[in-house]
Structures are given as structure tokens and as C-alpha cells.
Symmetry: C2
């Protein structure tokens, strides 16, 4: 079967591009130096490939990502890099030996009560989201230890710096954020300093962190593509043209097949006008100089390749992905870590 034979919208993964991305990252961040983020793909089959590239731990954003990986038979050093006060869900991952991020008395107590044995202190390093104030990190670690939790170290996600495109400014600001995190590490104890993401993989090579949390590098999207990273687009959604007018065409890849928070997807070399629940409307580019852009619209029944603007919420829209090599479908992977 070829990708053109799939029912659409079809989430497809280019095995060659995926493997190249995993190889590039594993060379810079080998073994336990990389803790691949499962939230970017929500697919235990893909996680298994990441394990084959030498990585021994996983970053997860939801308890179900961890319990799903465990259910798929994957044994690893799991990190819930997110806060939770849900006793049932924390309890459900306790038996996997997962480490859980904490940033408040409430999250420390919830972890202890649920039978979690290991925590990382999540430190605020500039992104207004989770993370304890640096000045409070040591106290929180002491509280955790007083409740018989092992404090493995610190984490801090500089998500606000991922998309910076000025190399000097990016390096300076990431370095500064990580000085804060390293300071906290000394006060908190433990041997893990976990941070970063795909957008700061290079800057972190000399920030002193012990492990990088990166997810998008595996599959990529049009937002990360703007950063000039050495990772290739490995995921697309195949669409079928279902309607064509004189000035535009419509394919069956809509809001419910895409993550839309980073804006419209790309459709081959066309101008995307808008997405509806089950449609993307696109047209020939207005700019006649557009290098290599198609000058005519595809017909009804033809296929187009849609590239998502944000990979993580695109993956979670699909039940399965088809893996292909040069268009030949070689595997079908369940997106089995969806939900919470």
C-alpha cells in the first residue's frame, strides 16, 4: 500500500526523516542526556524507536502518557514534567517508578500521598507557567524529603525562549535562565538538571544541564522549521481534494485533523485561505515569483500534503499514523497516549 491509497485525512510519518532526526539528536545528546518528550507524538511505537536510539528515559506531560508507555511494555525512567494533584492519576503511575515534577506544597503532598517516591523540583526560569520561585526551591526540596520523597534534582522549562531567532540573544538568555537553574540545583541537591527543548537544543550544549527535554525534533512542524534546525519535516497529513472552484480548491484536512494554535497549516506550495472543521481552502499563490510554487490547482480526487503548524496538538487529533518509506506504507502506529 502507498500513502496515496490511504483513507484521508491520513497522518503519515516519513520513517527516513524520523530516523535522521533521531540520529542527529542522539549524536548531540546521547543516551540518558536526552529525555525525549512523549507529548510531541503520543505514540508508544515511536517511543520504542527513540529507545532504540539509546535513550533510557522519557518526559511526559500527562499521567496517561506514562501509564500508556508502561502498558505498551516500555520500561524506562519516566518523568512527569508537569504538576498534578490528582490522587488517582498519580497513584496509577506510582508503580512505574515515575519521577514527578513539583512546584508547591500542594503538589509535594499530593505526590507523597499517592505513593510517588521521587520528585524533581520544577523551577520558574522565565516562562509564566509552572515552576517554584527560585528562592523557594530549597525549602520545597526539604519539605519533599521530610515526606520521604527522593529529590532527584531540578527542572526548568525556558519555553519563552524556544522561538527566539536571534542566535546571540537566544544564547545569552538561555545561559542566564540556566544560571538560575544551576544555582537552585546546588541548593536543592540531587544530580539531575533537566531543561530545554527542540528550540534550544544547541544552546544547551554548554549550559551545564544534565539532560535535555525535547519532543518536536522527532517529527517537526512549520513553526520549528523557521528556526533553521538540522531536523527534517517527518509528519504530514495527506488530504484529498473534494471540491474545486475557479479560484480555489478544498481538501479534507480541517481543524479536527490539525493543531491550530500556531495558525494555518501549509498545503504544498499553495496559499492557505482558511480551515473549517473538515476543510482547508487553498489557492495558487498570488505572487508570480514564488519559487517553484504550483501554478494550477489540483483536481477533485487528487491528493495534497498538509504540513501542520504545531505538531503536538496535531498528533493528538488522530487515532493512528501510517509510517512510510518513500511513499510505501510500512507500518501503522496507534496514537495510543491521548487523553489524560
Amino acid at each position: 500500500m502507498f500513502i496515496d491509497d490511504l483513507p484521508t485525512p491520513a497522518l503519515i510519518i516519513d520513517a527516513g526523516a524520523l530516523e535522521a532526526n533521531l540520529a542527529t539528536m542522539a549524536q548531540a545528546w546521547p543516551g540518558s542526556r536526552l529525555r525525549p518528550h512523549a507529548k510531541a507524538h503520543k505514540c508508544s511505537s515511536l517511543a520504542r524507536v527513540q529507545q532504540r536510539f539509546g535513550h533510557t528515559g522519557f518526559t511526559c506531560a500527562t499521567p496517561r502518557e506514562i501509564s500508556g508507555l508502561a502498558r505498551a511494555g516500555i520500561e524506562a525512567d519516566f518523568l512527569l514534567a508537569n504538576e498534578s494533584v490528582d490522587p488517582a492519576r498519580l497513584g496509577a503511575i506510582a508503580s512505574t517508578g515515575a519521577t514527578v515534577a513539583v512546584d508547591s506544597d500542594e503538589t509535594v503532598r499530593a505526590a507523597a500521598r499517592a505513593g510517588i517516591s521521587k520528585v524533581l523540583v520544577d523551577v520558574f526560569v522565565g516562562l509564566p507557567r509552572c515552576g517554584v520561585e527560585p528562592d523557594d526551591a530549597a525549602r520545597l526540596a526539604d519539605l519533599a524529603r521530610s515526606l520521604h520523597l527522593e529529590v532527584r534534582g531540578v527542572m526548568g522549562y525556558e519555553g519563552h525562549l524556544m522561538m527566539l531567532n536571534d542566535p546571540a540573544a537566544k544564547r545569552e538568555r538561555v545561559t542566564l535562565a540556566m544560571e538560575t537553574l544551576r544555582d537552585c540545583s546546588e541548593k536543592v541537591g540531587g544530580d539531575i538538571i533537566s531543561a530545554g527543548g527542540t528550540g534550544t537544543w544547541r544552546e544547551h550544549l554548554d549550559t551545564g544541564i544534565t539532560e535535555l527535554q525535547a519532543g518536536s525534533y522527532a517529527l517537526m512542524d512549520t513553526s520549528y522549521a523557521t528556526l533553521g534546525l538540522p531536523f527534517h519535516q517527518a509528519v504530514h497529513v495527506v488530504g484529498t481534494v473534494i471540491s474545486r472552484a475557479v479560484g480555489w480548491a478544498v481538501a479534507d484536512v480541517g481543524l479536527k485533523a490539525l493543531g491550530m494554535d500556531h495558525g494555518n497549516p501549509e498545503v504544498d506550495g499553495y496559499d492557505v485561505w482558511f480551515c473549517s472543521d473538515e476543510h482547508v481552502t487553498f489557492a495558487v499563490k498570488r505572487d508570480p515569483d514564488s519559487h517553484g510554487a504550483p501554478t494550477f490547482l489540483p483536481g477533485v480526487g487528487e491528493h495534497v500534503l498538509v504540513t501542520p503548524a504545531h505538531v503536538d496538538p496535531t498528533m493528538s487529533q488522530h487515532e493512528r499514523a501510517w509510517v512510510h518509506r518513500d511513499g510505501l506504507v510500512v507500518d501503522e502506529w496507534a496514537i495510543d497516549l491521548r487523553g489524560w
Copy 2:
């Protein structure tokens, strides 16, 4: 069980608000005059309630919405108000007697080949998406009849007019679009003129259409709330505060629990800063005059009520919805019509 006992993020439906919305619409558009759109909720249990309010047909955007409703035991006059050239998926709904929208030779031939017996000619009425050029509608109907398809009439979706907020302009433009559709109806034949949506439910009371396709009215969202319609917000996502800083708080309702194409959700009376995969960051409103807005942030473990900006792609992110009356959970509905 109360909604505060649910694991979060939890999609909840207020049964009272839902029933009030269904009653209001059924009074204006009774019985077969309304063809409720299943894409807005993707839930066969909710469709069953719509049937109890007297409606005998459903509008669907995907074959799976139709086959899922049929599998749930719902017998109705199904309309696939969308184009498809997928022989397997069209074939799978043929036995339900579904009517299928067509707007090209290819879609007519695909319907005939798949064993579909009835079509509506989908006419372009101003939204650059699907729909045949009005001048070509009669020829397409003839082609369909030549392939032994019953042509039940016409449909046309004026989606570009849904969010117009000027009543006079809206009435004028909807009327004009429907003049086109009525003209086509005369040339095409059949007795159905199907159009509209929640945003134009009132304008259509005197445009001469035979049935309204509306979906969002049942559950509503913050976008439709700007139109001053007589429908109440019936769906929310309950979130738990998992982190709190001096200036902001974070709840566990993120991109993967929401449709984001209409922008950020609302979180009680707070200012929403941004959403991440599994987070929404919010703060006390800057404007001290904000009427009734809370002046302090909730603590870790407390719940917030998140209102989506776009209901359709929010529903399709969830496996289930909990139905409640005044906070008491009275039912659990599977969102069983997801996918394609």
C-alpha cells in the same frame, strides 16, 4: 458525584442549558424544519436528545458521524453535507439511506458508484469552500439523475455570514444568498432547500428555505456568544489549578482539550494569557473596573470553569462528556462520532 469530583480536564454539559437551547430552536424550527448538525457535538447520546425534541434528520460532516449514529441505533434522515470521493466510506453509509452533497462530476460519480441513492446539489452561495457554481447546478442534477440518483434538492452554506453582527447587513446578505439558492432549487428540482446555521437561524425564518442546518446552538461557545443569540452556554471544561505564582495561575486545560482556531478560551472572570499543550495560564484582570471579575487567584487544587472559543473542535478532543444538573453529574456520554 459532583462536577468538582471529576478528573480534569473534564468536558461537562449543563443539561438544563442544553434542553433550553433545544427547546428554543425547536419552537422556531420544529420537526424536520431543523436538521441538527452532528459535527458540533459528535455525540450520539446528544443526538438522541435532539430527536426527542422532534427532529427527524441529522446533518453530518463526515461518513463516520453517520455510521456512528446508525451504530448507536439512531434511525433518521441523514445528510452528509460534505463532499466525498472515498468509495469505502461512502459505501459504508449507503445502507443507512443517507443523502450526500455533491458539487462536481467527480462527487456525483463517486456517490453513484458507492451505492448512494440520494443526493443534494451543494451550491456556492458566497463562502469559498464547497458548492457548485449556480449556473452549473442544473447540469449537475441532470448528470446525477442520469446515473439513477434521486436529486432531493439543493443546499448552500453561507458560512461567511454567520458572525456578521450588523442585523440589517446580515439580513440583506443572507436574503441575497438564498435568492441564489432558491433560483437553483427551481432549476435543480426536488423539494429540499437546506441552508444556514446557528448564526443565521433568525434571518432564515423568511428566506424560503425548507430546513436549517444548525449545530452550535445546542452547546454554544464564546464566539457565538458575541452574537446575542437566545442560546445559553451549555458546555465547559472543568480544570484544576496545578500551579500558582504571585502574578498568575495555571490550570490543566490546554491546547489538547480545546479547539483553538477561534483563539483562547475564557477562564471564569480572569485574563487568559496563553495556552500550552496541557496548560492555560491566566491572571486577575488588569482593568479594576471589570464588573464582577475576581480580584484574587484560585489556589492549587481549586477548580476553574473554562469556556471554549469554538465548540466543534473542542468536543472532538474529548473521549467523553459528563452531563450535570446544577453540578450534580447525572450521565456520562461518549463522544463517539470522532474521526473520519
